[in-house]
Symmetry: C2
Subunit: 233 residues, 2 copies
């Protein structure tokens, strides 16, 4: 069934969607690049209808812009929009922190703590990339513990939109220790099952991230583009 003669080299509709999504994420399809249905269909070895469907979904995801009778292109984010997205993420993650404090099981709290320990270790080893990865995992663990499907889904969507904007705020001078302290506060609040404190701590943390981001904004604007990391701090 895997590579039956019926499908010479083609892929399914879902695969096509994922493929395009990935292509946008990793920059294979750059911002503002035109997305001609026939061309993509040819490249992915699917029919135009499949590509069309995928583009409609991606439009609804906010990754693609379609103008009637004039085709689709990869959405370009302004810096202002990137800030907006981060602000919304901050609001939503604050909610998940609160919910995590309310709903997390002991096992989940243990897992969160372990993740924080990992980050501490990485920082001690001056492994900033590792730290950044740990950071992403910690946030993911908190979101999972929150058991809040709606918030999780929206956050995932926002993350997806921002992938090409993922800056390593961790590289800002003096940021790592501060970041660790903020994360510690969040984890402690959740472990204490104190929703208010958890929410406030997460809020402070993400506000701090935004301002760190502002500091790097000019640097980014300068050599426009290319930070392709998948991790934010």
């Amino acid at each position: 069934m895997g590579t039956s003669p019926r499908r010479p080299a083609g892929i399914s509709a879902e695969e096509a969607y994922e493929h395009l999504r990935q292509a946008i994420h990793n920059g294979e399809l750059g911002p503002n690049e035109r997305l001609v249905e026939a061309t993509l269909a040819d490249r992915l070895q699917v029919t135009r209808g499949v590509v069309r469907t995928a583009l409609i979904r991606l439009t609804q995801d906010g990754l693609v812009v379609r103008t009637p009778n004039r085709g689709a292109h990869v959405r370009m984010f302004t810096e202002a929009e990137a800030v907006e997205i981060l602000q919304v993420r901050a609001a939503l993650e604050a909610l998940t922190a609160r919910q995590a404090a309310l709903n997390a099981t002991d096992q989940e709290i243990a897992a969160i703590r372990r993740q924080l320990d990992q980050m501490t270790l990485k920082l001690k080893q001056d492994d900033l990339l590792g730290y950044s990865e740990g950071n992403a995992k910690l946030h993911a663990a908190i979101i999972a513990a929150a058991r809040h499907g709606t918030a999780a889904q929206l956050i995932a969507g926002l993350r997806a939109q921002l992938v090409r904007f993922q800056f390593r705020t961790i590289l800002v001078a003096g940021r790592p220790p501060k970041s660790l302290a903020e994360h510690t506060a969040i984890v402690e609040a959740i472990a204490d099952r104190d929703p208010d404190a958890a929410e406030i701590a997460m809020r402070q943390h993400l506000t701090s991230v935004v301002s760190a981001l502002d500091k790097t904004a000019t640097a980014i604007r300068r050599r426009f583009s290319p930070v392709d990391s998948t991790h934010a701090a």
Copy 2:
């Protein structure tokens, strides 16, 4: 062009999408109702492809669920999901209140104030429906003043999902005066250009709405369904 012979009674793709959206909203298409492409195409006087496209969009909007090879049906929300959606809305509207305090022009603030006065008047006249409408307008005005496209878009999406769940919390005993006081606090904070106060006030307001909702939950559960209002308080 209006009713050209080319389109005997058919409607465009966008219209079909809007039509289905409305049909779900006003209950014409009930929760869990099966959405057979051919049937809908026949009813709307469009081809199946158009319906198909609309269903894909509605799926991404969260109004419809599609299972591969097995068709689409109207999404059913559990009570828990409704609460989740309201929680997220609360977080996002708190953000817009903050942004409104920061970004609103004098004219926008005047408009917001005017809206609040309207609500006060309606309440004095015991016009609860009018009050509820005014409430919706006030929130809309605040969102507009916030100039935060990302948040506005997500809130709109969440509102759309919840339409069939829009309860008239305003009907809860003793709620109207409290609601008005909360709104007044929000408006004052925005007018004072105090973002923290605005955010807190909005947060408190929506928390209060959620708890009012909880009180009506049993009543709703009892005679399952039918509140078709478009306004929440």
